[in-house]
Point group: C2
Chain length 428, copies 2
């Protein structure tokens, strides 16, 4: 990790950029809502929570991360339709697509648009409406983010791909099924503290509810004593793609997210508590069939190196992070790729509770993609929103205990590491 | 027009940006080529024509305009796959989507990425592989760039939509079918001088070939004397969506385009003849069902106003332009929206030959989308490439006669004006 960090060129923005507002829709399955409804809900949430208010007319430019309204809804050219629904026309607005890292990349475009001198106030959002299709259809749409020439025809789907990564990690290190399960338990514990989360409940509560339902229905009541019993039972937690089970996978989610970026010099016009973007990195990776190894994503290491170099910090300095846990194994690999733990040490860190809300390195305090939900195009900005709230000390019951919180990080992956975006944020 | 120009805020880039190289694939129907093959061909063309050469490793960032590899090929997350095929991994690369203005918007992201200080050397391209689907399928994919909630269910397709614009223009002004036909004749005349064009032939030649074929086959030989006879004959030029006929519509095209952008301060390391980006504008427009009028696109007027304000020039100063002639009526409307001619005067300008290669305001010297072809995601950058070549005096047989060529403009529309991007380029 240290070697990778030292090789990244230190890039700098022409002028600094800050985040001054954030809005999130509810995350879940909302059969009666479209992409535009979801985005309007997120935007309204942003408007409602701007410390000093904002006029829609003051927004000069917009970026929308969206993976595939084309395939999910049959709607292309989504960005100007959203501008219309927000009352933002004729403000320029552009859709950014990098699979599940779409809004991570959108944030970077917003950052550079301000740093370029062209704009002072930019809206960056993400949205995905996924639940119109049946689960198999969603799996196919997501699989189209892999390589359609070599991977999809071979039968690879995302659970299958991440199953292969998990198997490789288990083979190379002392990673067990229990380690994977513990990531899920932790993230559901955090999600239970997040009112916007799709799974706003602990796995223990879910287990108790399942037991109570069985009892009500006169069925045999399972003798689960704790979450591990629950997760080890294939009736409760069936295999999806070995070694991944149902509760190792992020759900299918409808949702939207947005943040307001401004030039730092005017940030105090909007809030007394801006959050500054101090580092940003993005890298591409070769498709999985060409990847050099399966226990790490090269694009994540490279994007992290860029972000650390730009911020002038090391992994040790990061106090809270949202990482791309589309599957439980993905969180473990992320914490290693980001340099939080040595390669192969990620599982032990989970075991020791170091990544819990009360640990020394809280990861996915929002519940992560796993429990908060994963509307793919919205996830990158949703991670930034959680970090924004943590750094401002307004994360409520899931606020990390560290009272000197200054630096947070987000890690957003597209596909199997075809794209990775890492951002580092500092409390203003 | 003057009023619109005066209302645009004058925006400026933190540092100037120049174009130092360009590459174009052949445009046409290539059944055996994929998106990646097409883009590699365009990139190889760029590499082959860099005045001082370029190492792929020196490219720091990439943007790809693409409307819907999702719907056309079932491939999402296209950008990092292209990076892999170009040998550019781990360089960050991002797909930009704004329907047929996708690479126009991509160019702006490249411009701002450099102006932001983050990067000095950026590749911006566009690509679309359209011909895998049957024509009806392509029509459906393109229709998804309209509003899927209100327009598509009402049966609107793009020929239908532009037919409505044509009818409105005919009702309001003295626009005739002959005016529309003359736009096509002019653009095919230009396309005949462009070896990369899908229709590298004049309509007169097409007509003569049709006559010769009829004669060979012992069929009755039509008595067409000129292109107008040919275009007036529904056997040669059937109605598509009244008042538009076949030769009023841009074809379905496979193709790719790319340019190399650099910070102007290092432009001379790459070429003695850089072309500078002096103005850029982008605006969103409401969907057609909400448009205030049908004889003009509000986003085009707004984007033009922004670009003129930034460049500090007026429509009169523009000496050559590539405009978005997805249908012949679209070119006429574009020349009015850009302020080249007063509203309603566009048809007369065509009549008088003012927009021909030898006229005082040459439009679509490349053949335009009409004859050069319209691989939708590639068209915005392809327009920039034609302007780059004109300003450098290297457009060969289609070089405009003006020997003091300094300023060129590109006008790229997404959907029915949901997005418009206007760029102004100056010879270095």
């Amino acid at each position: 990790m240290a070697a990778t960090i030292s090789t990244a060129k230190r890039r700098q923005l022409g002028r600094p950029v800050s985040i001054v507002g954030a809005g999130l829709s509810r995350f879940g399955a909302f059969r009666d809502m479209t992409t535009r409804d979801l985005f309007v809900e997120a935007f309204q949430d942003l408007i409602d929570h701007m410390d000093q208010g904002i006029d829609v007319e003051d927004i000069e430019c917009g970026y929308i991360g969206n993976y595939s309204s084309d395939l999910f809804e049959g709607q292309g050219h989504t960005a100007p339709i959203l501008a219309d629904w927000l009352g933002m026309t004729p403000t320029p607005i552009t859709r950014i697509e990098n699979a599940c890292a779409s809004s991570g990349s959108a944030l970077r475009e917003g950052i550079m648009a301000i740093a370029s001198g062209m704009y002072d106030v930019v809206l960056v959002g993400g949205v995905e409406k996924m639940t119109d299709l049946p689960t198999e259809g969603v799996t196919d749409v997501l699989a189209s983010a892999a390589d359609g020439l070599y991977e999809v025809p071979a039968g690879l789907t995302f659970p299958g791909i991440y199953g292969a990564l998990a198997k490789a990690h288990m083979d190379r290190y002392e990673t067990s099924l229990a380690h994977l399960a513990k990531v899920g338990i932790k993230n559901h514990t955090n999600g239970a503290l997040n009112p916007k989360a799709q799974f706003n409940t602990t796995l223990l509560d879910m287990m108790e509810r399942r037991k109570a339902r069985a009892e009500q229905q006169g069925q045999p009541v399972p003798d689960w004593r704790d979450e591990m019993d629950f997760l080890n039972d294939p009736r409760a937690n069936p295999w999806i793609a070995w070694p991944l089970r149902l509760y190792d996978c992020a759900p299918i989610t409808d949702g939207a997210s947005c943040v307001l970026l401004v030039s730092s010099e005017i940030a105090n016009n909007f809030t007394d508590k801006p959050v500054h973007v101090v580092g940003t990195g993005q890298a591409s990776g070769r498709p999985l069939h060409d990847a050099e190894e399966l226990t790490s994503l090269s694009a994540a290491r490279e994007a992290a190196a860029q972000a650390y170099a730009m911020a002038g910090v090391t992994p040790r300095d990061i106090q809270v992070a949202e990482v791309h846990d589309c599957f439980t194994i993905a969180e473990i690999i992320a914490t290693e790729d980001l340099g939080f733990f040595e390669p192969g040490e990620g599982p032990r860190a989970v075991d020791e509770g170091r990544t819990a809300l009360t640990g020394d390195r809280p990861i996915n305090t929002s519940g992560g993609l796993k429990a908060k939900g994963h509307p793919v195009g919205a996830s990158g900005v949703a991670q930034v929103i959680e970090t924004f709230h943590q750094l401002r000390g307004e994360a409520g019951p899931r606020q990390v205990p560290n009272t000197n919180l200054e630096l947070g990080l987000t890690h957003n992956v597209g596909g199997t590491g075809g794209t990775c975006v890492v951002n580092i944020l500092r409390r203003g």
